[in-house]
């Protein structure tokens, strides 16, 4: 019922077009309340994490739970960074993420460019292949990939986590780039070609500069993917000094499983950078979805 009524307001759209009536006021009040309740519920895990992380160790276990810490203690964060090398893991994660990001943006945009703007007979075939790859469950290639990287003696190095990004950067990103490139008028290329520019020059000087929004979108999604990755780093990295934040956090948890204040402080260390990134890049998220046409239009 709420869904249908909510759409009335969506449908009515422009504010103030219809006269204010008591019913309408009540309706908007109800909408606001629902939104606030939903927001509280959905931000609860992160808020609860932060709140717990600031409670003195041992004091997190109280009944009923205190929603906010009575005294704010930063000690947990200090304990966490002193007991495990979180700083090093942070650097490792940043390094892997940055290196993969560069490869993804470069090679995925190249493939997207060929599929959107270059004329060649087999284009439809390759595009279909890219789209089908998007539907492929990654687990199918997990074991052979592991065996390949083992053969290459890449175990316990960052290569298995970085190198694949330099070879196409994932079908989804290729598709994102293609969709965006395809929306730029083709006349631009033709004009440039008549002036003697070749495909490489057009890509570098014309298409890429016009496509910064999609570069931003792909960068953000790729950043999140690598920052949050768990299974692959766990399979490939074995020594503590090569850990990423995600597996480091899991290792930390192995030692402090029941110290929730510490665990939440350690978790917060992995979460906060992501939240900061999100605040600065919010608009690219929804924009990214719009350009892909994933929403169906």
């Amino acid at each position: 019922m709420t869904a249908s009524t909510a759409t009335t307001a969506a449908a009515s759209g422009v504010r103030g077009r219809r006269p204010w009536s008591p019913g309408r006021l009540a309706w908007r009040g109800l909408l606001h309340l629902t939104l606030i309740a939903m927001s509280l519920a959905f931000s609860m895990p992160v808020l609860w994490m932060l709140s717990t992380s600031l409670k003195p160790t041992g004091r997190e276990f109280s009944y009923p739970p205190q929603l906010l810490p009575t005294t704010i203690v930063w000690q947990n964060y200090l304990t966490v960074v002193q007991s495990v090398p979180f700083g090093l893991w942070f650097r490792n994660t940043l390094y892997i993420t940055a290196a993969s990001l560069a490869g993804t943006v470069l090679t995925a945009s190249m493939a997207g460019y060929a599929l959107a703007r270059l004329r060649f007979r087999e284009r439809g075939f390759w595009l279909l292949l890219v789209v089908s790859t998007m539907m492929l469950p990654g687990v199918v290639t997990l074991i052979p990939r592991f065996l390949i990287f083992k053969q290459l003696h890449w175990m316990d190095t960052f290569y298995p986590l970085i190198v694949p990004s330099w070879f196409g950067g994932g079908a989804f990103n290729v598709f994102l780039f293609r969709q965006f490139f395809a929306s730029i008028p083709l006349d631009f290329d033709e004009a440039a070609r008549m002036d003697g520019a070749d495909s490489f020059l057009i890509f570098r000087k014309l298409i890429l500069p016009l496509s910064m929004p999609v570069v931003a979108t792909v960068s953000i999604f790729t950043f999140l993917d690598h920052w949050n990755a768990f299974m692959e780093p766990m399979i490939y990295l074995s020594s503590r000094e090569h850990f990423t934040l995600a597996i480091g956090l899991n290792a930390f948890r192995g030692r402090y499983a029941t110290y929730y204040a510490l665990l939440m402080a350690a978790s917060a260390i992995t979460v906060v950078p992501i939240i900061i990134l999100f605040f600065f890049s919010q608009r690219y998220f929804i924009q990214g979805i719009s350009i892909t046409g994933l929403a169906g239009r």
Binding site: P144, F230, L249, V271, I274, R297
Partner: protein
């Protein structure tokens, strides 16, 4: 589409040649040269992706297809074992448990996720003050790294001091054991997954914002009621997004791993032993690479079957505007 591009190219070639006043043969030669250049360029640009596709998708898939018929325990060279892995699988109770758990999880979680995301998207599409703050709040759990997320939910679902039970007690309801109970472990994970639907919500939001206001205006002029507008405008025009979220959601849920690995380790009593978790154990804890590959291919076949089935069914309910025009 392609025809249009060809025609444009011809036009360009003509213009160029007229400008330089070349002969007809030179013109067609130049056109062919141009096309050939573009053809070569296309493959240069595609080269990294194609190499990656061969090295990290097709190659590994073929390799795991072969490994599925082998015994390979890493230390010893692989031995051909025919259909052994498949017959082992048929008799393996944990394989069946993990398949059942995954199906249970997927077929309950995905419809709920789509419903929650759709409801949230409609709410978050309202033109109200502060709506962008609400969008951020809703999206927050989807941003949280899986390990941290699993840990915080483990804490929320803590039977003694967790927030969930405190809430239940406040309502006068009995406390539950959540992840610790074989019956509730899967539902707990489904509940938890609903908090991660920010991505789906964004896709719906983008879809909603793409519906022209005009349609609603026209319907209102014709005296349509809210319910009718949702039924006949919003839902049909949003059906591609619903379809996409369902397909991708099912593929993703079949591969659920990290949450169970961190929060429950597959327990209690294998209640959350999901398919990929079992595959992971076989591959990387028991080092049965052959058996794990066979498991991977079975999962691939199941996923493919479901995806194709959905595309088939989608013809009946997914509405693409482009087709109608």
């Amino acid at each position: 589409m392609a025809g249009l591009r060809w025609r444009r190219l011809r036009r360009v070639a003509t213009v160029t040649s007229e400008a330089t006043a070349r002969t007809v043969t030179a013109r067609s030669a130049r056109r062919r040269g141009l096309l050939w250049r573009e053809h070569v360029d296309a493959y240069v640009f595609l080269a990294p992706w194609i190499m990656g596709f061969v090295a990290w998708t097709v190659g590994p898939m073929l390799a795991s297809g072969l490994l599925a018929f082998m015994d390979y325990e890493i230390l010893l060279p692989p031995v051909w074992s025919g259909l052994n892995n498949l017959s082992t699988m048929a008799k393996d109770p944990l394989f069946l448990t993990s398949l059942g758990n995954t199906a249970y999880y997927t077929f309950i979680a995905v419809p709920l996720q789509v419903a929650v995301a759709l409801f949230a998207a409609i709410l978050l599409n309202q033109k109200l003050r502060g709506v962008s703050v609400h969008r951020t709040a809703f999206y927050l759990p989807a941003l949280t790294p899986a390990v941290a997320n699993a840990l915080v939910w483990l804490w929320i679902f803590n039977p003694q001091f967790g927030l969930a039970n405190a809430g239940l007690r406040l309502l006068g309801l009995p406390a539950l054991k959540w992840f610790m109970s074989p019956e509730l472990a899967k539902p707990s994970m489904i509940i938890m997954s609903l908090w991660g639907t920010g991505g789906e919500m964004l896709i719906f939001l983008a879809g909603l914002q793409g519906i022209p206001e005009l349609y609603y205006e026209a319907a209102r002029v014709d005296g349509a009621r809210t319910r009718e507008m949702v039924r006949h405008i919003t839902i049909p025009l949003l059906s591609p997004s619903i379809f996409f979220n369902t397909v991708v959601g099912i593929i993703g849920s079949f591969q659920v791993f990290t949450t169970a690995f961190i929060a429950t380790g597959g327990g209690p009593q294998n209640a959350t032993l999901f398919y990929v978790l079992y595959l992971f154990r076989n591959g990387f804890q028991y080092f049965k690479m052959g058996y794990a590959s066979a498991l991977a291919w079975v999962l691939f076949a199941i996923t493919l079957a479901f995806t194709l089935l959905q595309f088939r069914l989608g013809r009946f309910w997914v509405y693409y505007e482009a087709e109608a025009k």
